[in-house]
């Protein structure tokens, strides 16, 4: 039995859960996909070949994993819509090169280059993260980090956070329903004292649950470590995945220089 074999509809992965990418050891994906992001973000503004190679690598991974553009966009739009509007200001404030008047504003060519580059870097970075989470369950990401010697406390917190996020969300939903049932829906932020009291109640409940969970862990012999029944094992295909990404990206990144 392999603990990586989660029911796909329950764990947040997208695409074909049986694909070669989904079945990779989480460590291979934790090394390979963020590396694409790091290479793109660290490249100079005009390193277009690097961006093209990064995009091609991610497109290849998405194709093999059968993660559709719609799924990818659904997951990427949140972070991208936070970053890109901020970058959209740059063409108006970064002077340099040709410029054009747009009513009371002036658009500068240098700023447009920065906007294009930031947009591309952000898209590559977010896409790498999206592909990682679309092809790897959160528990497997944590197991991968643990196997890569991430601090034990961090692993413990991440594991319990994943488990209890759903429990706390359920409590929030129940409290919201109870509030609505007594016509307690606040109509503006200024009248949200009741929300503060709900937050306090939620904190106290979560704290009490934390104590009970700790007792339950102690009752089954917890001594500071989370033992794993199914250790990860790197196969040739996992190492090949990292090697292929490295062999495509590193030469291009080195040739692009430090900008």
């Amino acid at each position: 039995m392999d603990a990586c074999n989660h029911a796909p509809e329950l764990t947040g992965v997208a695409g074909d859960p049986g694909s070669a990418v989904h079945r990779l050891d989480p460590r291979a994906k934790l090394l390979g996909l963020p590396a694409v992001s790091v290479v793109a973000v660290s490249a100079p503004l005009d390193a277009w070949p690097v961006f093209v190679i990064c995009g091609a690598v991610l497109a290849g991974v998405a194709t093999v994993a059968r993660v559709s553009p719609v799924d990818a966009w659904r997951r990427a739009r949140g972070p991208l819509l936070l970053v890109i509007p901020v970058a959209a200001v740059v063409p108006f404030v970064r002077a340099g090169g040709a410029h054009w008047s747009l009513g009371p504003l002036t658009v500068h060519a240098a700023g447009l280059v920065v906007l294009a580059t930031v947009t591309i870097k952000a898209t590559i970075g977010v896409a790498a993260g999206v592909l990682l989470t679309a092809t790897t369950t959160f528990p497997d990401i944590v197991r991968g980090l643990e196997a890569m010697r991430a601090p034990r406390l961090l692993v413990l917190v991440a594991t319990l956070m994943y488990r209890y996020l759903f429990v706390v969300a359920d409590e929030v939903r129940r409290m919201g329903v109870a509030l609505s049932a007594r016509s307690g829906r606040p109509r503006s932020v200024l009248r949200s004292g009741v929300l503060g009291r709900l937050a306090t109640a939620l904190f106290l409940r979560s704290y009490a649950r934390g104590e009970r969970v700790h007792l339950a862990m102690l009752a089954r012999g917890y001594d500071g470590a989370l033992p794993r029944p199914y250790p990860l094992s790197l196969r040739r295909v996992d190492m090949a995945f990292v090697a292929v990404i490295a062999s495509l990206l590193l030469p291009a990144r080195v040739l692009a220089g430090i900008g």
């Binding site: 528990p139 594991t159 488990r163 089954r220 033992p227 794993r228 029944p229």
Partner: protein, 260 residues
């Protein structure tokens, strides 16, 4: 005689000074199934937590052949399987299989043995199909069964259950009784569910305000309406106890049994 539970004069006060147990004497023999009854706040959960040293009161306590004291707690907790009232407290790992494996791995067993125990424990509670699932997607009844599997995989000599039938629908409750009655282990069951107590346990103990106020055959205690009323216990309205047939103990070595 070697008792599965031997508490003598056990008293406990919470740090805020509230007394929870007041001189409890309780002896449970190997293989017995005992219902621990009592109103809310009687001290039932506090008593259960004494059994594997999670809370430590005064008096002497010997459980599953070990004195409850520092130095033996790891071994003691391997012998005493405690199932908490809320399965969401009990199930803290990302998947069912990892949770069921947690206890045996902490006992230092090798991975092959742990895998076999996980499979056996999940089969005993009829949850083999859910091994790779995260607990939050299971129904309350399923979570309760998995919570029991998490301690069965440690093959405890003593199974301690805190309100095992709370929040269960009638069908899940019946499945739970089926599963518990097939387990070959000494059992202490804290519950408000008097019909469950009658069906599963041959003996009952009533705890009120931290003291044991009655101890005897379950059928006799539950038939004493005045005793139940005096301690805020009540059968469902119109319930006929004589219609409940107590479950037989399973033969030793049967499929769902967990011999040490």
């Amino acid at each position: 005689m070697s008792w599965a539970i031997d508490l003598r004069g056990t008293s406990y006060r919470y740090p805020d000074g509230a007394g929870a147990l007041d001189g409890v004497d309780l002896r449970v023999g190997p293989g017995e199934r005992v219902a621990l009854l009592g109103p809310n706040g009687a001290g039932k959960t506090t008593l259960l937590l004494q059994l594997n040293g999670l809370l430590r009161g005064t008096g002497s306590a010997t459980v599953a052949g070990l004195p409850v004291r520092d130095g033996v707690l790891r071994e003691l907790r391997g012998r005493v399987g405690l199932v908490f009232q809320d399965p969401d407290d009990q199930l803290f790992m990302p998947t069912v299989a990892e949770d069921v494996a947690f206890g045996p791995l902490n006992l230092g067993l090798d991975r092959a043995t742990v895998a076999a125990r996980v499979a056996q424990a999940l089969a005993a509670v009829r949850m083999s199909h859910a091994a790779a699932r995260p607990p939050h997607v299971l129904s309350m009844g399923e979570r309760r069964r998995v919570a029991i599997a998490t301690v069965l995989s440690m093959r405890p000599q003593l199974l301690v259950l805190d309100e095992p039938s709370s929040s269960l629908d009638p069908r899940s409750r019946m499945e739970l009784i089926d599963i518990l009655s097939a387990i070959d282990a000494t059992m202490l069951v804290a519950t408000h569910d008097l019909p469950l107590a009658k069906e599963l346990c041959e003996r009952a103990v009533i705890l009120d305000r931290g003291r044991i106020v009655a101890d005897g055959p379950c059928a006799e205690l539950l038939a004493d309406a005045a005793l139940l009323a005096a301690h805020d216990l009540m059968l469902p309205s119109g319930f006929d106890l004589s219609r409940i047939t107590p479950r037989e103990h399973p033969p030793a070595g049967s499929r769902a049994s967990m011999p040490a």
